[in-house]
């Protein structure tokens, strides 16, 4: 006999989320994800001047606002055939990285780790320590992290006027030229954050963390002092609670490539990693389709490519159980996020752990943390590469008619904007966000989305109404429901 469990409201995820579980023998037998809120951004954008997207889209989501801006700016740049000057490119990367890393930090300290302070773990050796560090509102590290994050975001006060919701990111670059002395100041700020990471999170130099090449190395390092720094405490907890085996995903991973460089190329390569073949396939964005079969949205045309996508609410549609469409790549379910970026860009440690454990709670969080260690030094480099007094922004008019695509890697994974204009106005604007992928419902073929797959088999303890394992798995994706549906 299966029983049904309706879980919600979730929190410590962005936006509202509901999961319906079918339980069997103390395990999840099947799951359905509901993104319960619809705002209609794609509808709102119609008829507006294309540049208005730069004001509107960031407001899709307050936690990955910049990612949206970047995707929109790239879509418009694509539409207008613009090329950012090097300075603009660097600044855009710095702004985006600032947000991405802040999101990772927020996820780890505010969203993910607090679950280990729950009474269910009271018997664990590390529980008191977890409480001391991660109890919401009182945990020492939680508070330290909020404080570090606040300082970190001051980077964006300088570079982007404010966060969230900047308009400083333009198709042609950045509206905020940086003077030499400001660069110095920004570097100091980055170092301040680095110091937080090196003292609190990793208790080790970032370069040392980024250079861990195998799980053996990781474990050896972990064993040196298993609770020193929050990362190692996480590793201890993960070991103890078997997170490595919890919530295995679809084992196909999508990355659009992150941090494009002025000379071309990305610092995190694009591609599709398949655990089955242990190989990286090329990215074919043309193979994306959105399937609205189980969404309260019109699906008359069947699965559509976003450039021709359609978004029209049909609130009373039968069989629908979410406001989210189901994007598929070449018909397949993929997972996206830091883990995908690491796999695509061949991080040896991540490739090894994923090969060993699959995409699970443990490997997702690990990949995210590694990114913190990798990207901060990159940011330092970008700032150093600025050529003060060179241009930060070029200005080109947009064509009256055309199509533009903007792909970007947000904290949570691959984000795409597709814009179409006619007579200087937007006629269609489609957005496929990372959590749109990860938390997609079943498709026309009935194939469940990534999370829906990952939940299957999750243990549910007696009397649990909001099963802890389910929470770990859900949060391991760092979902953002406002992005998901927009």
């Amino acid at each position: 006999m299966t029983t049904r469990l309706l879980v919600g409201p979730f929190n410590r995820v962005e936006g509202d989320l509901e999961v319906t579980l079918e339980l069997k023998d103390g395990r999840v037998d099947s799951a359905r994800v509901n993104a319960p809120m619809y705002r209609g951004f794609e509808q709102i954008l119609q008829g507006k001047a294309p540049q208005d997207a730069l004001v509107v889209v960031p407001r899709i989501c307050g936690i990955c606002s910049v990612s949206q801006s970047v995707a929109a700016a790239r879509a418009l740049a694509d539409l207008g055939g613009m090329q950012m000057p090097a300075n603009g490119q660097h600044i855009t990367n710095v702004i985006l990285a600032t947000e991405n890393l802040a999101d990772h930090l927020t996820h780890f300290y505010l969203f993910f780790m607090p679950d280990f302070t729950r009474p269910v773990y009271a018997a664990k050796a590390w529980h008191a320590e977890a409480l001391r560090r991660f109890a919401p509102q009182t945990g020492e590290q939680v508070r330290a992290a909020i404080s570090a994050r606040q300082r970190w975001f001051e980077l964006l006060g300088t570079l982007a006027g404010k966060w969230p919701h900047t308009q400083s990111i333009e198709p042609g670059g950045s509206t905020r030229p940086v003077e030499a002395a400001e660069r110095t100041r920004l570097l100091a700020r980055v170092r301040e954050f680095r110091s937080f990471l090196e003292r609190q999170l990793f208790a080790a130099p970032l370069e040392q963390i980024a250079a861990l090449r195998s799980e053996a190395e990781l474990q050896a390092w972990h064993a040196q002092d298993p609770w020193r720094g929050d990362f190692r405490l996480f590793l201890s907890v993960a070991q103890d609670t078997g997170l490595a085996a919890l919530g295995p995903g679809p084992e196909r991973y999508l990355s659009y490539g992150a941090y494009p460089q002025p000379g071309g190329g990305y610092l995190f390569a694009p591609g599709v990693w398949s655990s089955a073949t242990d190989a990286l396939g090329p990215l074919d964005a043309g193979a994306i389709r959105e399937d609205a079969t189980h969404a309260w949205l019109a699906d008359a045309g069947g699965p559509l490519h976003p450039s021709a996508g359609l978004t029209r609410p049909e609130p009373d549609k039968a069989d629908a159980y979410t406001w989210n469409k189901a994007p598929r790549l070449g018909g397949q379910v993929v997972e996206t996020g830091a883990i995908a970026r690491q796999l695509a860009s061949a991080h040896p440690l991540v490739r090894e752990v994923v090969a060993r454990h699959g995409g699970t709670v443990y490997t997702r969080v690990l990949a995210r943390l590694l990114e913190l260690a990798q990207v901060v030094p990159m940011m330092e480099r970008w700032l150093q590469q600025l050529v003060v007094n060179d241009a930060y922004c070029v200005n080109t008019a947009l064509p009256e008619e055309g199509l533009g695509v903007g792909l970007s890697e947000a904290a949570r994974g691959s984000l795409g904007h597709w814009v179409q204009t006619r007579r200087g106005r937007i006629v269609n604007y489609q957005i496929v966000a990372p959590t749109t992928w990860n938390f997609s419902p079943r498709d026309a073929a009935g194939t469940p989305g990534a999370l829906e797959q990952a939940l299957v088999g999750a243990p549910v303890l007696d009397g649990e109404t909001t099963p802890i394992a389910v929470q770990h798995i859900v949060r391991s994706f760092d979902p953002c429901m406002v992005c998901t549906v927009h």
Partner: protein, 341 residues
């Protein structure tokens, strides 16, 4: 949290999110303090629940909400972030609170009736905001306003337990300081209606104009204007800046350290104002009639604006003129050598 809810002393804050983007909360966490939670605690603010900051999830939350409705848990400030989605067709089904099957607008209405203060966090919750843009596909509105029309979800007549209308901490996002100051004021001596402006915004920030303290002021004085993104000049004339009209202290009380929209190189879109999301023109362009901007500085007659603007343009020093359209200072201010200053 256990089944029986006790009401702690201090200002009990219950925070819910609906048709917004969560950005107001994200912004809030950037409050200028070294210990966010400590600051609240010391100010006597008690966070009953916040979707990003609390442990409680799922059933625990529902239990708590029920305790509030049951009157066993006191809510002093009901903070709502995000607009209220009344559609489709008034059902509110565009947002059904997860795990409850009940539209969020119903939850909000019921909880508002219990709260000592109701606070709209951000322009979404205040006026409908960005979600009410375009042709407002979700019939979004604010707690007590539909753009600048009183009404909204709770109605123009609504008053919370304290006798105040909804306090509109408008802004998109709203400034962390605005929220903190508002809540701290409520936790301390409270706010009087006199401290709210005609739109229910706390006057401490709404009585300012964004233009106050803009670093581009000298350019403004000479109407030396930026012509493209990354120019240093004033953005009122061409680039859509509404700083002279927007009620907010963004250039006085900066954002994320030393930021503000105009400091960031882009126009103020007056995000604290009702209806900002639909200005009737592209955000990045100043609408003009006969070359004169339609949106004139607050309290300034057009004739004066015209007379002064054109004169001051003629008076523009070379430095100001050239720097206005450059992305870095090309002419430095003269260093005077005079004893008598």
């Amino acid at each position: 949290m256990g089944a029986v809810q006790t009401s702690p002393p201090g200002l009990n804050v219950l925070w819910l999110q609906s048709g917004g983007c969560g950005g107001c909360s994200m912004s809030l966490l950037c409050a200028d303090t070294t210990d966010f939670h400590g600051q609240w605690r010391d100010a006597g603010i008690n966070l009953l629940w916040h979707p990003s900051l609390s442990l409680a999830s799922g059933s625990e939350v529902i239990e708590m909400l029920n305790a509030v409705l049951a009157g066993t848990l006191r809510v002093d400030a009901l903070c709502i972030e995000g607009s209220l989605l009344r559609g489709p067709n008034g059902t509110g089904r565009f947002h059904v609170l997860a795990g409850t099957g009940l539209p969020m607008i119903d939850w909000v209405k019921r909880l508002a009736a219990k709260a000592r203060h109701v606070v709209a966090i951000g322009s979404c919750a205040a006026w409908g905001g960005i979600t009410a843009g375009g042709d407002n596909p979700t019939d979004a509105c604010g707690l007590q306003y539909d753009d600048d029309r009183p009404g909204g979800l709770l109605g123009a007549a609504f008053r919370s337990g304290s006798g105040l209308p909804v306090i509109n901490v408008a802004g998109c996002p709203t400034h962390p300081g605005w929220v903190t100051d508002t809540l701290m004021a409520l936790a301390a001596e409270g706010l009087s209606e006199a401290e709210l402006d005609t739109l229910g915004r706390p006057r401490f920030y709404a009585d300012q104009l964004v233009h106050h303290g803009c670093t581009r002021n000298e350019y403004y004085e000479f109407k030396a204007s930026a012509e493209k993104p990354s120019d240093l000049g004033c953005m009122m004339e061409h680039m859509g800046c509404k700083g002279t009209q927007a009620h907010a202290d963004c250039n006085t009380r900066l954002w994320n350290g030393e930021g503000s929209c105009t400091r960031g190189g882009y126009a103020c879109i007056s995000c604290t104002e009702p209806g900002f999301q639909e200005p009737g023109h592209p955000f990045h362009q100043t609408p003009k009639i006969a070359g004169i901007p339609i949106g004139l500085p607050t309290d300034m007659p057009k004739a004066w604006f015209v007379a002064l603007a054109s004169l001051s343009k003629s008076a523009t020093p070379r430095r100001v003129k050239l720097n206005a359209t450059a992305d870095h200072i090309v002419v430095a201010p003269a260093a005077r050598k005079t004893r008598l200053k």
